[in-house]
Symmetry: C2
Subunit: 339 residues, 2 copies
C-alpha cells in the first residue's frame, strides 16, 4: 500500500491512496482524513485502506482515480509529532571526523547517534528549499525514514521492529556552515537543521518485497544533483544500526507516539574499507555534498565541490529491482528566501 | 483566558475553558475540538473563545460549569508539533560549567542555547514520572513556556513577540546521569530528556497583567520537593534572553508552525552576583536538583542532595500578586516504570 497527502489548503492535507506505479491516486479521506489520523488508529484504519487498495489494484473500485502530480503533494506527514534522525551509516560519521582529524570514539559502533529534529513544518517533496543565504552551506542529505505506531518505553528490538508501519525517503536539509558553531555549544542541531522534505509517498514494508529485511532497505538510493548522478549508495550496505535498533534507541527512556518519524541518517557506503568514489568514476558516490568535500579535503587538503547554490536542483529517488520508482522522487530547487 | 485539555480517551483530548480562579471549566469543543485546532485557526477561534470566557465570567453563559480536577487534565497540548527549549537563565548554565571547572564561552551571553525536545507524548500535569532506573539521575526542571502562532522564517523580535499566544509552566524532566555521555556524542539531548509535563492550564498573556512585559514573566516560580519549598526564583530576573529572542532564535532558518512550544530553560536567580542559597536559608532556592548539587560541589567538593527517588513528589506552580494560582500546579510523583 502506498499513501500520500494531497495539498488541500489545510495544514495536514488530505489522505490519498496511490497506485503501485504512482500514476494515479484515489481519495482515502472517508477512511481517515489525514495520514496522522490513520496512524492514530492504525489497527482499525489500515485494513480498510488495504481493502480499498486491493479493489483499486483489481480494477473493481468505483472510487474515482485522478492522475498523480507530485508537485501537488505535501510530505506524507506535512507535520509530525516527532522527527528523530539517527546517523546509522557510521562510515559517514567516521569521514566527517577524519576530515577534521578527530578520532571517532569506539562506542559510535555500538551506541547509535540520534538527534531530535524539528517536525512542525516539513517541506513537500517538490517544494523549493528557500534559504536566506548560501553562506550557510546548504546541503542535502539523502536518507531513509520509517513512521512508527505507538512504541512502549524500553521497547525490545522485536517490539521496535513490529511498530514500523511505513517507509519513505528524506532530504534532511542541512546548513553546514552553521553546524560547527551550533554543535560546539553542546545542545545539538537547531538552526543548522531547517525543514526536511520527504518522498511523495510512504509505503508499507510489504511494497519493498525482499528488499526489506525487517530493519534495512537493500536498494541503492539515487541522489542526483542538477540532473547528474551524485549518489548511488546502497541503503542496505554499511548501515551499522538497523531501524529496529534506531526505534528502540529512541524509545529507551520514553514511549514514542504513533506517527513518529525515525530517520537513518545520510546513506553512505565504503569502498574497499575506505572512502567511496564519485559515481562518474564508477563509485557509489555520495548522498550529501559534505561527504565528497571531506574526501576532497582528506585527499587534496581542500574541498572543491561547493555546497548548494540558488538554482541548484536535488533529486532523491529509489528504484525497485524492476526499475520503477517506489516512493516517487523528492525533487527540490534551492531558491533565495525573501521574508 | 485560561485554556486546558480534558482527558477524554483521545490522543488530543477535549478543549475546555477554565475560570480565572481555576475552580471550574466549561466545554469549549464546539468552538474548537482541541487546543491544537484552536491554534491552527487562532484569528478566528480566539475571539469566540474570549466571548465564551467573558460570558462565563459575567455569569451569563448557559454553558454547564463542571468542577475542575487537575488530575483529569492532559498537558494543554497533550502532544505538539514542536518543543524547542531554550536555556535563557545563563546563570544556570554558568553554574553547570563551574561545577565541572569548564569555562563558559562569552557568546553564551549573546547567542541563546536551545535544544529540540521530544513532543510526541507529553505527561499530564499530575501524571506520574515513571522511570525504569533512579541511577539515570531523575531531575525536575521548573520552567516557563510559550505557545506560538505561525512564525515566519527570519522573524524580527517584534514578529516573534507578537506571535506569542499562550503561556504555561513546564517540568522539563531530565535524566542527569545520561546527559554527559549523550552530550559528549555531540548531537545534543535525546534519551536524557524524556517526556515533559506542562501546567494544568495555558493562559493568554493578558491574564498575567503587568507581570508580563511582552517577553518575560515577572513572578517567582514556586518549586516544591516533597511538600517543602525548594525554589522561589523569580522568572523575570536573570533571564538573559526573553521569549521574543527565544522565538526569533528558533525561527532564524525555518518557519515555526502554530502550536510550537518554546521554553525558557530552568529558571535560576543569582544572589549578589554569585550562586543562590536554599529557600530554608532565606535564598530563592533552585528550580532543579542539579543546581543545588553544583553549588554543593563548588562549596564542599561533593554533591549531597540526591536526585529524585521513587515516591518523591515535585510541585511547580506560580502565584499571582493576589496569591492565587495562575496556571494550576504541576504535581507529579516519581514511580518505577514496569514495561
Amino acid at each position: 500500500m502506498k499513501l500520500a497527502t494531497l495539498k488541500n489548503g489545510t495544514r495536514d492535507g488530505q489522505l490519498v491512496l496511490v497506485t503501485g506505479d504512482l500514476s494515479h491516486y484515489v481519495d482515502a479521506s472517508a477512511i481517515a482524513p489525514t495520514l496522522q489520523a490513520a496512524l492514530d488508529d492504525w489497527a482499525i484504519v489500515a485494513p480498510r485502506l488495504i481493502e480499498l487498495a486491493d479493489e483499486i489494484a483489481a480494477g473493481s473500485s468505483i472510487a474515482k482515480r485522478e492522475a498523480l502530480d507530485a508537485t501537488q503533494l505535501h510530505s506524507p506527514l506535512p507535520r509530525a509529532f516527532q522527527w528523530a534522525d539517527g546517523s546509522a551509516y557510521v562510515n559517514h560519521v567516521e569521514l566527517v571526523r577524519k576530515a577534521r582529524s578527530a578520532e571517532m570514539p569506539e562506542t559510535f559502533w555500538t551506541d547509535p547517534l540520534m538527534y531530535q529534529g524539528g517536525s512542525d513544518r516539513f517541506l513537500g517533496p517538490c517544494d523549493d528549499i528557500a534559504m536566506a543565504d548560501t553562506a550557510w552551506g546548504i546541503d542535502m542529505e539523502g536518507e531513509i525514514a520509517v513512521i512508527t505506531d505507538d512504541v512502549p518505553m524500553g521497547a525490545s528490538l522485536d517490539q521496535a521492529r513490529d511498530a514500523i508501519r511505513l517507509i519513505m525517503l528524506v532530504n534532511d536539509v542541512s546548513l553546514r556552515g552553521l553546524i560547527p558553531g551550533e554543535l560546539a555549544k553542546g545542545f545539538g542541531f537547531f538552526q543548522s537543521k531547517p525543514s526536511s522534505a520527504f518522498s511523495p509517498v510512504a509505503v508499507t514494508p510489504d511494497e519493498l518485497g525482499d528488499a526489506w529485511d525487517g530493519g534495512k532497505v537493500h536498494l541503492p538510493l539515487n541522489v542526483d544533483l542538477n540532473g547528474k548522478p551524485f549518489g548511488r549508495a546502497n541503503a542496505g550496505v554499511d548501515m551499522t544500526f538497523d531501524f529496529a535498533q534506531l526505534v528502540a534507541h529512541a524509545a529507551r527512556t520514553r514511549p514514542l507516539g504513533a506517527g513518529s518519524v525515525v530517520g537513518s541518517g545520510t546513506v553512505s557506503n565504503k569502498l574497499d574499507g575506505g572512502p567511496g568514489k564519485p559515481v562518474a568514476e564508477g563509485g557509489a558516490g555520495y548522498s550529501c555534498i559534505a561527504e565528497i568535500r571531506m574526501i576532497e579535503t582528506i585527499e587534496t587538503g581542500a574541498a572543491k565541490t561547493p555546497f548548494l547554490q540558488f538554482g541548484d536542483r536535488v533529486k532523491i529517488e529509489m528504484l525497485g529491482k524492476d526499475g520503477t520508482s517506489i516512493f516517487g522522487a523528492i525533487d527540490q530547487t534551492v531558491t533565495q528566501y525573501k521574508g
